[in-house]
């Protein structure tokens, strides 16, 4: 008699393929459900998330004659970026600094700038000489990007696409001239202008001549030398012969080593003949014997010896990363302030876009740097800077002898030298005056 299907005995000892499959699938799904959250968090397979990045370009020479000074600027900027990133980046973006080598060649600056901007850099930091800055200027203007320039220069320039962080003559040379003519400065009457043969020394000395005209000061000589000059003995003889009591030195680079040596060998006493250098930093002084440099004068907005907690903290932080024997200079401090100002501007703008950042600069922002507060003047896009005159010590650092009470406002077009020229980016920009010949 057939047994009805619902009463047929089940063979519970045998495992069928279907049952195995069913239980296998059920077990797999259950295991997946339990393990998935810990194994594959957010479907990322445990791959740590990477912060979105924004690229910036650092335009510095890392090889060639300008390398040592420029490399220090790169290090300062890299240090700043690392601190930004460690603190969570800017606007949630990690900053990716790219630093190609411009090899101390002016022709490579615009090429590297173009490559960096093509690769998506939102801003450029760097350049060293005026020639390199002027070579990059058309690129940043054409691409409407921003260049942050940290080096003191001659003025007579203002671009919507450059934020100038170094001193111009009215923040550096001109206050020094006034002090040197005063009682505490030795009432100096005979100036000898000595410089390298390029745009900065020639323009600066043009402004100096105009500034000193009618003050009773006599300019007893003005001479220029190529950057690779190593024999300054003849000009030192002429300086002595003409009875100069002050040498305004705008020689740049390694020529200073030879100049200081020539002065020492000629027995020029720094107490009687003041050598006042505009382009010598503590970094350059390392290259000279202490006996050649001690007692001479250096013009700068910042010295390593500036005794403030902010400076001590900055130097300690940098040295803990780059070594305890690192020496600091004016351009390094300017580079540090500029990159921090950029960060402030981006954060206030809520954007990395050039125009948005520029709008923040136009509203006027500042940063408390190691050498004091730096503010960007909205009219000229130049920095307000302290004036400091330092005297070289036997340990090749400088004591600050004279300093301004506070930061001085920038004037890239001193009217005494460039009459009629005005710049105010809040009111229409640059208003050119009559053409001026600096050789005149």
């Amino acid at each position: 008699m057939p047994v009805p299907p619902d009463t047929q005995p089940l063979n519970r000892g045998a495992v069928t393929r279907r049952e195995t499959l069913r239980s296998g699938v059920a077990a797999t799904l259950a295991a997946a459900r339990v393990l998935a959250p810990s194994l594959f968090v957010g479907c990322s397979l445990g791959i740590p998330p990477r912060a979105p990045t924004v690229r910036i370009g650092l335009l510095h020479s890392q090889t060639g004659p300008l390398a040592i000074g420029s490399t220090s600027l790169r290090d300062v900027e890299v240090d700043a970026v690392e601190r930004f990133n460690a603190a969570g980046g800017i606007l949630g973006f990690s900053i990716d600094p790219r630093a190609p080598d411009t090899r101390s060649r002016t022709d490579l600056f615009p090429k590297r700038a173009t490559t960096l901007l093509d690769d998506g850099a939102v801003a450029l930091f760097g350049c060293w000489s005026s020639a390199s800055r002027k070579a990059v200027l058309p690129i940043v203007e054409e691409r409407d990007s921003l260049l942050f320039y940290p080096v003191q220069y001659e003025g007579n320039e203002s671009s919507r696409n450059v934020i100038y962080g170094g001193q111009v003559p009215n923040q550096q040379v001109l206050p020094a001239l006034d002090w040197l003519r005063s009682g505490p400065g030795g009432e100096r009457k005979k100036f000898f202008l000595l410089g390298s043969d390029y745009v900065y020394p020639r323009t600066t000395n043009f402004i100096v001549r105009k500034w000193l005209a009618g003050t009773g000061v006599e300019i007893v000589g003005e001479e220029y030398f190529s950057l690779d000059t190593e024999d300054f003995a003849p000009v030192v003889a002429r300086i002595r012969e003409r009875g100069a009591d002050c040498i305004l030195n705008t020689v740049n680079g390694s020529g200073n080593i030879a100049l200081f040596a020539a002065l020492a060998e000629a027995g020029i006493d720094p107490a009687k003949v003041a050598l006042v250098s505009t382009s010598v930093s503590e970094d350059d002084l390392r290259s000279m014997p202490a006996a050649h440099s001690a007692g001479h004068w250096v013009l700068s907005s910042y010295f390593q010896t500036v005794d403030t907690p902010a400076n001590a903290a900055w130097m300690a932080g940098f040295r803990s990363e780059f070594g305890h024997d690192r020496v600091f200079g004016d351009s390094m401090e300017a580079a540090w302030c500029l990159i921090n100002l950029w960060k402030v501007a981006v954060e206030q703008a809520g954007s990395f876009a050039t125009e948005a950042v520029r709008q923040v600069f136009a509203a006027g922002i500042g940063f408390d740097g190691p050498g004091g507060r730096m503010t960007i003047d909205p009219a000229t896009q130049h920095a307000t800077k302290h004036f400091r005159l330092g005297r070289v010590r036997p340990d090749r650092l400088c004591d600050v002898v004279v300093s301004s009470d506070g930061p001085l406002a920038p004037d890239p077009y001193p009217q005494v030298a460039f009459p009629g020229w005005k710049c105010d980016w809040t009111k229409g920009g640059l208003q050119p005056g009559p053409e001026v010949s600096i050789d005149g």
């Binding site: 495992v15 393929r17 195995t20 499959l21 296998g24 194994l39 594959f40 397979l45 445990g46 791959i47 740590p48 890392q62 090889t63 060639g64 390398a67 040592i68 490399t71 290090d75 690392e82 790219r98 630093a99 190609p100 080598d101 390392r286 290259s287 990363e321 780059f322 070594g323 305890h324 024997d325 690192r326």
Partner: protein, 264 residues
């Protein structure tokens, strides 16, 4: 590698191994369900073929096992060779640092700064890039900067001449090791090896599918074999690129050097 598995190196070791093993087992089990019924028909029609498959499988496993073993050794040797190059590079840099510390100032100080900067760059920037399979570019600039500055120095005494000659020897050795390190960033097993490995693994699994056994036995025994294959593959993939994954070269040699430089 025949296809891009770069994302694989970003996965933590345990999960990556589990993923690879899981993928092999899942593939085997899926095949056991889908392909095996057809293959089994082929085997059942030929009595004695099951034994033959067992014989072929055991022969195949010997050759394939040897191949995998040799490849694993090669991959490990690549890692070891890269590690030796890194150690040599750091040692040459250390010797160079000692040499230039005897140079007169400012050359000595400049060179010490540059060497420290290079070491710092390697640790902080180059290594993370290498771990992504990217050859770091800016290290070359820093190496050139050291070389440039070294060539700027003109010895004035016989002692300085000897010191300078030794420093030049060290920098050349350092540059050679550096080039070898960069070369090994993208070094790996040739494409042909990967093809043979994966095709071999597939044949192994195919032969297992052909076995006429109970389904559960098929799943368990075949699953174990597939899991081991997956584990071996994981090991080889992980060691394939010396600077990527858990089994990779660390920047420890440079870190120790940098610590010593910073103590100066």
């Amino acid at each position: 590698m025949p296809f891009d598995l770069s994302w694989f190196y970003d996965i933590p070791t345990a999960r990556a191994a589990l993923l690879m093993v899981g993928a092999f087992v899942a593939f085997y089990w899926a095949g056991a369900v889908v392909v095996r019924p057809f293959l089994r028909i082929f085997v059942r029609r030929a009595p004695g073929l099951n034994d033959l498959i067992g014989y072929i499988l055991s022969c195949f496993c010997v050759f394939y096992g040897l191949l995998l073993g040799l490849i694993a050794v090669t991959a490990y040797q690549n890692v070891e060779s890269a590690e030796q190059n890194v150690t040599r590079e750091a040692a040459a840099l250390s010797a160079l640092y000692e040499d230039v510390s005897r140079y007169p100032e400012p050359h000595g100080q400049d060179l010490r700064w540059l060497i420290r900067d290079y070491t710092r760059y390697v640790i902080k920037y180059a290594w993370p890039l290498q771990q992504q399979g990217i050859i770091p570019e800016e290290g070359t600039i820093r190496a050139e900067a050291i070389f440039d500055r070294l060539l700027d120095f003109e010895p004035k005494t016989s002692g300085e001449e000897i010191l300078h000659a030794e420093a030049l020897r060290q920098i050349n050795h350092f540059l050679e090791c550096r080039r070898l390190r960069l070369h090994s960033v993208r070094a790996g097993l040739p494409r042909a090896m990967w093809i043979v490995m994966f095709v071999g693994a597939f044949f192994n699994i195919l032969l297992c599918w052909m076995f006429d056994t109970r389904f559960l036995t098929q799943l368990v025994l075949g699953g174990i074999l597939a899991a081991y294959l997956g584990l071996m593959m994981y090991l080889i993939v992980d060691m394939n690129q010396p600077f990527r994954g858990e089994v990779s070269v660390s920047p420890e040699a440079f870190e120790l050097l940098y610590l010593r430089m910073m103590e100066d």
